[in-house]
Amino acid sequence: MIIGILDIQGAVSEHEVAFERAFMSKNMKGATKLVKTLDDLKDIDGLALPGGESSAISAQLARLGMDKEIHRMVEQGFPIMGTCAGTILLAKRLITDMDEEITVPLGLMDITVKRNAFGRQKESFEHYIEIKNMDEPYGAVFIRAPMINEVGEGVESLAMLNDEIVIARQSNMLAMVFHPELTMDTRIHEMFIDIVLEI
């Protein structure tokens, strides 16, 4: 299995390490591949969109013509995972306080996402959450995190924090507002590997 990691901006190397550890913990063969261009989207079994600044990533996705191709692939069932900014990019609808929202999401997942919903850097925090089908609580890191406000039919909420959805799945798409790549716990990356195996 080869998991592509979108290498435009953000926590790219952290996801590489996390997937390598997840493969090891599952005792399976697997590799990661950095995805910088349209061509790199070939020969991967799943794609992770890392956290970073969604406005910067979306501008480059469009410039490189990768937005349309990712959209096409995911519509056909290609597995994709978004963390933080990645979740903003996956959303069909964005809520923003800005006069004009410059992030153009890929519009794939039937969720409404609010950017910077938990506040600024100083409001960043860590919190244990109960994720569906996980035995032990999961320590999640929230940094300038967005929030999944609404989900459409066919989207399953996997965990809540104070009545807000923080991780959700819609068939081949997994989205979360926290940063699983910044902790040693590999269960989220393993969950995505399972989705790739399943599809």
Binding site: Q9, A56, A85, T96, T103
Partner: protein
């Protein structure tokens, strides 16, 4: 999470808007860009809070703000206002000749400049979450940023081959400046070296600082890089400059005067953002370098009077 992106100096909300639209991953709010600070002389302080507020209200990306080296009161203002990161910067006039801010006392993360590995390690020991080269700000001359990045990279290579005894000696040398005040005060009455048991800074003994410095050096040796992100800053004026710094292993780029002192800031901002993302792709770099108009006026480092060299502040 600014890795792989470009952070742009802005002095107004309008400039912040241009930066965000161009694809900046953060903006740095300040009173004047470095080249204007250089031209005006005098004492450069943290900006008026009103300005930071306008910029915080304008953009959705993180907003950073500069404080003088050692000026923890300025830092408290930015922290209370909700700045996303503080740059303890040599571009402003240093406020403390002996100490940097004890950054471990803040919840807001800090970025600090360095000219070589020892400075980077001291700032990390003090709690910096991000390092950048100092370069020579406001010159539009990339040579000093290149020098600082080379020196950091070279020393990381050296760490891989030295034995524990040498590593200990390096840690001793790198930790020494924490005792600057103690050494200065001792000059008045005796000439002993500061002892390891002496409390020197942040309520901690010299031996504690040395142990921290050594632990960080071991981490750097094992990782083959700094344990925090390391950006390029100081003199970056063109997309090619940005690409050069990224190719040297920087995690991202700060552009100070380079954007809003060029003849077409919008275009320059976008081109530098594109160059950082695609730094290895010569074709893209060529495309985005075309028709940019004039880059900011450049300054030869040799022509700058010694007392106006910013990188020597706060080592």
């Amino acid at each position: 999470m600014q890795k792989g992106g470009v952070i742009m100096d802005v002095v107004t909300a309008e400039q912040a808007r241009i930066a965000e639209d161009a694809g900046a991953v953060a903006v740095m709010s300040l009173e004047r860009v470095p080249s204007d600070i250089r031209a005006m002389g005098g004492v450069a302080r943290a900006a008026d809070p009103t300005k930071l507020q306008e910029i915080l209200d304008e953009v959705s990306i993180p907003v950073m703000a500069k404080v003088r080296i050692g000026h923890f009161a300025e830092a408290r203002i930015w922290e209370s206002m909700g700045a996303d990161m503080i740059d303890e910067s040599e571009v402003l006039t240093p406020a403390d000749p002996y100490y940097h801010i004890d950054k471990s006392e803040f919840t807001v993360p800090f970025v600090c400049g360095c000219t070589y590995l020892g400075e980077a390690v001291r700032r990390i020991a003090e709690g910096a979450a991000m390092i950048r080269t100092k370069g020579e700000a406001g010159t539009g001359n990339v040579v000093e940023a290149v020098r600082h990045m080379h020196l950091v990279n070279q020393m990381i290579e050296n760490l891989k081959i030295i034995d524990d005894e040498k590593l200990d000696a390096v840690a001793h040398t790198y930790a020494k400046p924490f005792g600057k005040l103690e050494m200065a005060s001792r000059q008045e009455w005796c000439d002993d070296e500061t002892s390891a048991d002496e409390i020197v800074f942040g309520g901690r003994k010299m031996a504690d600082w040395k142990a921290d410095v050594k632990a960080i050096l071991i981490e750097i040796r094992d990782l083959g890089r700094l344990p925090v992100v390391n950006f390029a800053a100081g003199g970056i004026a063109t997309p090619a400059d940005a690409s050069l710094m990224m190719s040297m292993g920087c995690d991202g780029v700060f552009v100070g005067s380079g954007i809003f002192k060029s003849s077409d800031p919008k275009k320059m901002a976008k081109s530098i953002a594109d160059a950082v993302t695609n730094f290895e792709d010569a074709k893209t770099l060529t495309e985005v370098s075309m028709g940019l108009g004039n880059a900011m006026p450049g300054l030869d480092i040799g022509q700058i009077p010694e007392d106006q060299i910013l990188q020597n502040r706060g080592l």
